[in-house]
Symmetry: C2
Subunit: 347 residues, 2 copies
């Protein structure tokens, strides 16, 4: 075991501070990664603050990890020392249930092991995430990162990226489909980039007129202001797919009216109770509400390869580890375009 430096919270009302944590020695299939960058996801904040309940302290957040391979176990075949790699939201799963067999480890029937606050099968206790110098991960959960990309800006692909890529692919968004991305934050900005790169006609749907210009720069072909009833009416029954990235409780009914018959709105933001849905919103037009959770490892690699080919990264603002508490405040007030990434050299 190696004791390393990390940044985390000792309790739900504590600010993040420097801590010492332990990483396991290498098993035959393990990859030891020296972390260069780690994105700041809203889930980090929810876990640190125990918003969802069940947080285990100390919490060392971070599941948008980019680094270099420092060492590999004797049976590791896919990675070499020095290679640039990524780790996302999972570091393990049962590998044998139907979901795992279908490359959908995020839906592992025994429960996937989260990169932080998951159940550590090796050391006992819980897992520690990427706000740290190093991480040791089974090679199955390590991603190859295309070297041509700006590495700082690839970190959030491991969560914000795959969370939006997976539903666009699962619901088969293709050239000329009319796709709405609802909400412009960390998830929404990647939704726009991916839907655009897949050839869709992308409509940014937002309550805030001041997001229109940014949305167009990111690749939206149109902006629909959801507060404008007459504009909403013009777009009724016209969308092939809606990616709903709103991270808080909201009313789904106006958005469902935008879908064509038999089409889907997929939730990726809000896990909490939503405003009441009318039965008629799905009965009339046989519409569908679904949701999606990150993506499997195979699909995450496909996304990274696609990003390499199309030169897609996230829009990020770099911070030092020591300013993380300020960054958290800015994330909660939506004051970031569009993701903070920690430069781990600062640790």
């Amino acid at each position: 075991m190696a004791t390393i430096k990390a940044y985390g919270a000792k309790s739900s009302d504590a600010a993040l501070e420097e801590l010492q944590i332990e990483r396991r020695d290498l098993n035959p299939k393990d990859v030891k990664i020296s972390i260069d960058y780690c994105g700041v996801c809203h889930s980090d904040i929810h876990t640190v603050r125990n918003d969802w309940g069940g947080s285990k302290y100390p919490v060392i957040p971070g599941h948008e990890i980019i680094g270099r391979v420092e060492a590999v176990g004797e049976d590791v075949s896919a990675f070499k020392v020095g290679q640039t790699v990524g780790v996302g939201c999972m570091v393990d799963s049962c590998r044998s249930c139907p979901s795992c067999q279908h490359d959908l480890e995020q839906f592992c029937e025994e429960g996937m092991v989260g990169t932080y606050n998951g159940k550590d099968k090796h050391l006992g206790g819980h897992t520690f995430g990427g706000y740290s110098q190093q991480i040791v991960v089974d090679e199955h959960f390590v991603l190859n990162v295309p070297e041509n990309l700006d590495l700082k800006a690839t970190a959030p692909l491991l969560c914000a990226g795959i969370t939006t890529w997976s539903p666009l692919r699962h619901w088969n968004v293709k050239k000329s489909d009319k796709v709405g991305v609802i909400g412009l934050g960390g998830l929404g900005h990647m939704g726009i980039k991916f839907a655009n790169a897949l050839g869709a006609h992308v409509v940014m749907i937002t309550r805030s007129e001041n997001k229109a210009q940014d949305a167009k720069k990111l690749g939206a072909h149109e902006v629909l202001i959801s507060k404008d009833q007459s504009e909403m009416k013009k777009h009724m029954n016209s969308f092939d797919f809606l990616l709903n990235t709103i991270p808080v409780k909201h009313d789904m009914n106006p958005y469902l009216s935008l879908l064509k018959r038999d089409k889907t709105m997929c939730l990726v933001g809000a896990i909490e109770p939503l405003e009441p849905m009318h039965g008629a919103s799905v009965i009339l037009g046989r519409k569908r509400v679904s949701g999606s959770l990150i993506g499997g490892i195979k699909e995450t690699q496909e996304m990274l390869d696609f990003c390499g080919e199309h030169n897609i990264t996230c829009d990020v603002e770099m911070i030092k580890m020591q300013t993380i508490n300020e960054a958290y405040e800015r994330v909660t007030s939506s004051d970031v375009k569009y993701r903070f990434v920690i430069d781990m050299k600062s640790l």
Copy 2:
């Protein structure tokens, strides 16, 4: 035009009473039907009482119509005088929009014409339904009824039947699928019969233990009492499809927990606002909530043919036209197994 006897309401607080209405003369594609039986659907009551708003009086309800062809227009090819036929919830649509072209007239983009309280394109005003001696309908919206069936008990197939058949077919319920039918009323009892006939393992899901015996007689293989937390837990993540026939506001979240990954719960009962759905209920397991509205004409004919082959009809209680007001009271207190049918000879 012919003036005929009908039964209906003059205003939302009036009881139903005998009225005179007019039926149009035959157009070339029209079929004149002498009505033998008409089912009593909960929608009839909602419309009579203006529960959904927008009712037009006098309301002559009835969209589960069985009768005999009395005359045909000169261009009618599919029907002959004396033949037993049915009319369901629609009597017209635009015939040219994508939904109509796909045999989904119920989702006609100009709006399908309801059998009652629809916009009458021929006489102006609104359409009058099946609580009457006769009806005149374009042959496209007339169904052929297999003669081997007990005709009294076929009437509710035209609404309760197709409403449950269509989603089971659309979501491809097949042999050995584990299918849950939620709620045992007019819709639920047909859901059980159809899912059983399609070869599924059928689980009746209900709050009322006293419905268990009936559910099994109708074809349910198991009964799951939804108030029993430990039983619900045993069935978590195990269903291939859920047909939700609950006709009132309710909490969908416990039912969503029963679905396997990527599977669908389809609403066919409640059009009103439901209890808040948790985003997590669909995000975890990429589950789907959808809805379904009756079915297209082609699919309704397929259902009737299937019923003829498998000798499937509804469980009905026959009433005279003059006792309709009592029947309405009994429907609203769920005191019917499982559908009232009016013997129109009584009119």
